[in-house]
Symmetry: C3
């Protein structure tokens, strides 16, 4: 059995920014030597997420508009009484999801034709990490 | 260690349709020979999902009504400028989730009394796949 | 390869209640002997969830207020025609998620600085279970 761990580091220019990471994950899978198994890709911070969807700029904007509608910034959240101002980021990342598990088959990510992996930052401009852990044989 | 992969194929009659797949997943687990481990069940298309909830027709209708409220069809989504008309399907599948990981214990799915696995199609009437990957011993 | 399974049992005093379970999961991981791998933490009932987010009481209240807005109790859900009154609990648990997969590295949960694991009960005051399954080496 093989288990292999690596980390992706982000420091986005904008507070909210989505970054395609399919190729980064694929490179870690290759380095892992796992040919049959799974890889966990999980945000280690609680104001960012990881999700699988389309690599199309219009849809990415639609996602951001929609998340703002479902979990708006600027409401009088109780969390802000601690001095924080990012409660909406915690909620947005909950909708989009904070982790995915991807299958590895024949030595590569076993993704459908349009599946792309994204890192979704909702409170960036500082150092944040994603853990990538492959296991299998 | 055992790793076993299979695929479920769907071609729903309706554009939006939920299909119970618990027994299909259980059959793949049995074929895998895995007696202790996990099984990943993941939609390979980005307008469909996989989720665990109740096998009760009223609740399934409630889910569909609720998803339509949270992520309505027919809005002027930017994604539609590409010629697509299914942005809402991408959003709906995000709410319901696109994958589950189920425990395998004593050679069978280790589910609670009411847990059932569903495939949730939001843009069907064409061939779509779900990957089912069991691993363990 | 090691696979180890245990269950957490809840019987909350309130119908809706969030319970921090990070330490319970960590103890099971320690008992498993897995030093490199993953652990699945999954609600076995379909009106409760498991999620990772902040251990801050204000934010937990924000989550509950927000879920009530997205999936209100008391609407004329079709599910209630069966005699049930908890359709909103099924929807709320869908938003927050019903399971997480956590990495195990160097013999411990490999979590970011603020990641905490929670059990989210939406229809409690009765016995419910969470399965915790560690696998790796």
């Amino acid at each position: 059995m093989r288990v292999y761990t690596d980390y992706l580091v982000f420091n986005t220019k904008k507070r909210q920014q989505f970054v395609r990471i399919t190729d980064d994950v694929a490179a870690i899978v290759k380095a892992s030597g796992v040919t049959e198994g799974i890889v966990l890709v999980s945000a280690m911070h609680i104001t960012s997420g990881v999700y699988v969807n389309d690599w199309e700029e219009g849809l990415i904007e639609d996602f951001q508009t929609w998340l703002e509608k479902l979990a708006p910034a600027g409401l009088p959240y109780k969390h802000h009484q601690t001095g924080e101002d990012n409660a909406d980021a915690h909620l947005k990342r909950t909708v989009i999801g904070h982790q995915v598990v991807l299958p590895i088959t024949n030595g590569a990510l076993d993704l459908g034709p349009w599946e792309q992996v994204f890192y979704a930052e909702f409170d960036g401009q500082r150092r944040k990490r994603v853990v990538v852990k492959a296991l299998g044989e």
